[in-house]
Amino acid sequence: MNCMKLRAFAALLAAITLVSAQTIEPGRLATMIEALTRLGPEKVNANPKLQEALGKVLAATRGTPQFVKLVEEFQMKGQNAGLLEVALKLPADEAGVAAMRLVLAANEPKLIAAALAGTNAPALAQVLGNTADKRVVPLLLPILADAKGEAALRKAVVRALAQTQEGATELLRLAREEKLGSDVKFVAGAELNAVRWLAIKAEAAKLLPPPAGQNDKPLPPVAELLKMKSDAKNGETVYFRESVGCGKCHQVNGKGTDFGPALSEIGSKLGKDALLESILDPSAGVSFGYEAWSVELKNGDELFGLVVSDAADELALKAVGGVVTRVKKSDIAKRAQSKLSVMPAGLAQTMTVQELVDLLEFLSTLKKK
C-alpha cells in the first residue's frame, strides 16, 4: 500500500469513527424512543432539549421501522427519502407499507416515478401495491405500456395493480383490449381470477381463463376418498405448493405466512372428514375472529382482511399475505363483515384426487408433540 492510499484509508477510518460517535447505544436509543413517544409531539416540541433529543433519535433510527413510527407520530415533514428506504427494504411488512403510505401522502409523484426507474423498482411496485391505495394506479400503468421493460418489474406491477379495484379494472381493460404483454398475461390471469370483486373476477374468468384444473371431475364419495392410500410427505409438498397455496395463509410449525389460524395441531382437533369439508366449503364454519371485513375509508380507499385488533380509536386489519394496516376509527366511513370466508372455495380443483388425499393425510398428522 503506498503512502497516499494509506492516508486516504486513515481519513476513512476517522470518518467512520466520527459517524459511530453519533450513533446511540441500542439500549439508550430504545429508552429514548419509549420516553419521547409517550410524551408526544406537543410536549416534545415545547422543549428545545427534547426536540434535540428527537432529532438525534431520528438520525440514529434511519432505515428502520422505528424511524417510520417516529415520523408518523411526530408528523415530521421532509423525510421521504428515509421513508422510501424502509419501504424498499420491507415491502411486505407493516412498517414498509406504512412508510410507503406516508410518502404517498406527501404527494410527490416525481419522487416515486424516479424510484420506479431505479434498480429497486420491483420492490417498490410490490410495496406500492401493498398500500392498496388507488393513487398508485396511474404511477404503475405506464410500466405495462412499455413491453420492453424488465419482466420482473412488470409482473410485480400486475400483482400490485390487482390489489385495488381501480387497478384490477385497468388490468381487465388491458386484457380486453389485448394490450397485456405475453410476459404478464399468466400472472394477470392468476391475480384477477383471485380478486374479491366478483364482477371483475367473472369477466377475468372469460378473458383470462385459469389453466385447466388438475381435477375438474366430481370427487368420489367421501368414504371412498378416505379409504385411499395416502402419503403425508407428498401432502406436505402439496400444502406448500404455490398453485395450491395453503401455506400462503396458514402456518405449520412456524413455516408459511401468518394469516388464517395456524394448523400446527389441526390433526389433534379434526378428523379427515371435517378437514375435507373445511377445504371444500371454507365458509361453512369460520372461526370466531377470522371473519373477513371490508372497510371503506372516508377518503374512498378500501381495505379487506381480518380484524386483528379493534381498539378504542384504531382498527388493525390484516390483509391476505399478512400485512397489517392500522387505521384511525375516525377515518372509517363504513365497515361490513363478509358472509364468505377469506379462504377461497374450489381449492380441491387445484390438485389431483390423490394429492387431496395426501394433503388430508398430512393435515391429520399435525398433532401436539
Partner: protein, 671 residues
Amino acid sequence: MKHTLHAIALTALLAASALPVQAQHNRPTGRAAALEELKKMTVAEGLEVTLFASEPMVLNPACMDIDSRGRIWVAEGANYRKWSNPPIRPEGDRIVILEDTNGDGAADKATTFYQGLEINNALGLCVLGNKVIVSCSPNIFIFTDTDGDGKADKKEVLFTKTGQAQHDHSAHSFVFGPDGKLYWNFGNSGKAVHDKDGNPIKDRAGNIINDSRNPYRQGMVFRCNLDGSGMETLGWNFRNNYEVAVDSFGTLWQSDNDDDGNKGVRINYVMEYGNFGYTEELTGAGWSTGWNKAKAKGVSEDEKVSYQWHLFDPGVVPNLINTGQGSPTGICVYEGTLLTAFQNQVIHCDAGPRTVRAYPATRTGAGYKATIKDLLTSSDTWYRPADACTAPDGSLYIADWHDAGVGGHNMADRSVTNMTGRIYRVAPKGHKSSVPKLDLNTAAGATAALQSPNLATRYLAWAALNTMQGKAEAELLTLWSGSDARQRARALHLLARIKGSEAKHIAAALKDTDADIRITGLRIARERGLDVIPFVKQFTNDDSAAVRRECAIALRHNTSPEAPKLWAQLALKHDGQDRWYLEALGISADKNEVACFAAWQAAVGDKWNTAAGRDIVWRSRAPQAATLIAKIVTDKETKAGEKARYLRALDFVPKSKEKDDALAAIALGAL
C-alpha cells in the same frame, strides 16, 4: 350500485359453493354404533367408561346437569347455528331428563322437560330444586316444575339482552356456590347483562355491566343472589371462558379459549375482580399487538402465549396453566371420593384435542400451580366432550356433542334423523350406580346431604339448613369439627348464616390452622358485609401469602381511613416474585391508589429500592410511582430489558405532572 352487484354475485356464489358438501354423513348411528365407538376410548387407570345414553334418545348434548335423584338433564343443540333458521327441528330444541329406572347403568327413560325454539342450543343448565336455570343467549330463563311431573310448568326470565343468540361465546351455565349464590359467565359475545325488563344492571362495585371498557370488557364472570340481585363482576377480559367452576372454599376455576390455532388455551384461577388480559387494557388492542412484541423479542412459542394474554402488563392476573391448542367447554370441580385419583381436582372438557382432563392444583404463594392429566380420551375423531358433572354417587358423567367438528358455528350431523350425541359414565371398574337416600327434614339428614359430591343435592341441603338456622347448628358444628377441609368449609358457610351467631363462627374460622379455612372465613365476612378491617389487622403478618392475598381483596374499595395503612402493611410483605400477590395488591388499591402508595412510601421510607419495592412501584397507578420509575430507569444499574418494563408501567399511570416530568427526565437522562 356496486354493492347491489356484490350482493347478487355473493348470493349466487354462496348457493353454488354450498351444494356439493351438504351431503349427510354416512357413519352408523344408534346405540350399537355408540357401543362400538366406546371401544375406542381410553380412560384413566382403575376406572371404566360405560355408555349411559346415545342417539336417538339424546341428540347433540350442549350442556348437562345431574339432579339429586341421579337423573341426567341435557340441553340439546339440534337447531344449531344456521340449522336454526329454518330450524331442522321445527318444534325447537329440548331439555330432556334421562333416567336409569332399572339400575342397569343405562338410561331407559327420557322425559322432555321443555321444548321450544327459544331454547335452541342452550349453553347452560343448572338444576336447583324444582327450578332450572337455562342459559340461552340473549335470555337466561328460569323454568319451574310446580307439580313435580318432570315437565316445566312456568317460564320466567332472570336476565335478558345478554349475549348473541347461537353464539358459543355468549352466556354459559349457572353454578350453585357454597355461599348460596349463583356463579356464571359469558365469553366475548356476551356484551352486557340486562334485567328481566331489559334495563342495564349496575354491579356492586357501581359499574354498569357491559363490555364498553368502563372498566369491563370481553368475557366476564359473575356472582349474584338466587333471584339475580346483587350482581358482582368477578373477573373480566377473557375471550371465551366457557363455564365457571366453584369449589367448597369459594375458589373459582375457568378455562379460556385462544384465538384459534394460537396454542394459547389457558386454565385460570379467577382471582376476584381481576383483569385477565385478553385485550390490552388501555387501548383494547388485540392479540396481534402482544404477538408482535413477542416476535420482536424473538421469544419461544411457549412464551409467546404470555405476550398474547398481555401477562407482562401490570394489572393482568397470571394464568394457572397453558394447555395449547383447544376448544375448551364444560368444567367442574370433582369433590367426590369415588374417583380417588381425581379427588378435589378441576375436571375439564376440551373438545378440540378430544379429551377430558384434570388439573391437580396446589397452592404456591398467593396463587396455584397445576399439572395436566388425561381422564377420558378417544381415537374416535367425533368424540367432542361438552360437559362433565358429578352424580350423587360420585361417578362422573360426560356429555359428548359427538361431531366431526367442535361446534364453532358448524356441524356435520345436519338432520335430526342422523344426529348423534352420547352420555358416558366414568366410575371405578364394576361400580354399580346408586342414589343415596335424601332426608332434608332433619338437620342430620340435611347435613349428610350437604356432603354430597353432587351440586344439585348440595343446593337442596343448603336451602334446608339455611331455613333451619339455629336448629341445624349442632349438626353443622359436628361437620365443622371434622377433618375434611372442604366439608368444614361447607358447614362454615351455613354456620356463618345463623342469625346472631355469624361473628362467632367467622371468628372461629379466622383462627383456624388451615389457610383455606381462614380464606373461606374472610370471604364469608366480606360477603356478609361485616367490617373487614379488624380481620385484616389480624392477618397482615400471616404466614400464608394466600391468606394475605384474600385480605388485600377484602380491602378493595374499603373507605375506612385505616385501609391504606393496612394495604401498606400487606405490600411490605411482598416477596418481589409472587405475581399473584402483586396483582392482588393492585386489585386492592383500585380507586385508592394515591393513598395506598403514600402509606407504603411512609412505611418503607428510603428502603423502597428492592426487588419487592420496585414491583410495588411497577404495579402502582399512583402518580407518585412515576417519580420512582424515573429513578429506576435512569439508574445505571438497571438493565435494558428492565427499563422497557418500567416504561410500560408508566402507560398505566394517569396523566399527571409527575408522569411528564418522569418521561422528560428519562428521555434526556438516556442521552
